[in-house]
């Protein structure tokens, strides 16, 4: 099946810093989503972004489908950004199932 690799696995920032999280995937996809899992376990959908660039406040994401990677940018980080960020993809040949990466654990210190 499709492989999803996220980097870095762990990231510690001071409040106000910027960061870039990366997601590499091994096959063509027609669905790519970024999620944030807060410390209480709630998964929140951030972006649906199989290609191109989107922005939502301090967050933005870019997917280069031809090169099989996606980037999530967090600017001016806040303590509430802490948690695990997951990239999830749906390969072209499959139905409606998402394959998740192992996530990036982000800690933002005050």
């Amino acid at each position: 099946g499709i492989q999803v690799e996220q980097s870095p696995p762990d990231l510690i920032l001071q409040e106000g810093a910027n960061s870039t999280l990366r997601c590499n995937f091994s096959d063509s996809v027609n669905n790519l989503q970024w999620f944030h899992q807060n410390p209480w376990g709630q998964l929140i959908n951030l972006f649906y972004i199989p290609s191109g660039t989107k922005q939502n406040g301090r967050l933005s994401a870019t997917t280069v489908a031809t090169e099989r990677y996606s980037l999530l940018y967090i600017s001016s980080s806040q303590t509430t950004d802490s948690g695990v960020y997951f990239c999830a993809v749906d390969p072209e040949t499959s139905g409606s199932r998402l394959t998740f990466g192992e996530g990036t654990q982000l800690t933002v210190n005050p």
């Binding site: 669905n31 998964l43 999830a88 139905g95 409606s96 998402l98 998740f100």
Partner: protein, 115 residues
């Protein structure tokens, strides 16, 4: 309700017991998914419903796992003869349509511990 509701929030079962986990999706959502999340890992797909039809159950790890959504709304994931390796958080998600760009809304999950 406003979001996806799962119950119970926590479940402790002795090995060999049967358990039933409930998911109330957002009203009107067509698609419903079950995922299993082990500690420190990303969620793994179990099964997918479109209304009452179970269109994909390829992620169910064994025939001890069974899911249903008889009226196209509430879903139940049943695990028979639980084993220690079944310990995980079970997440339910729903989306408004079957289209891939329809955002997934996750519940808070049920944490199952098998002793």
């Amino acid at each position: 309700g406003a979001g996806v509701s799962q119950s119970p929030r926590y479940k402790v079962a002795k090995r060999g017991q049967d358990v039933a986990l409930r998911c109330d999706p957002i009203s009107g959502h067509v698609s419903l998914f079950w995922y299993q999340q082990a500690l420190g890992q990303g969620p793994e797909f179990l099964t997918y419903f479109q209304n009452e039809a179970q269109l994909d159950k390829s992620g169910l790890p064994s025939d001890r796992f069974f899911a249903e959504r008889p009226e196209g709304s509430v879903s139940t994931l049943k695990i028979q003869r639980t084993q220690q390796e079944d310990s995980a958080v079970y997440l339910c998600a729903s989306s408004f349509t079957h289209r891939r760009n329809s955002p997934l809304h996750f519940g808070n999950g049920t944490r199952l511990t098998v002793t």
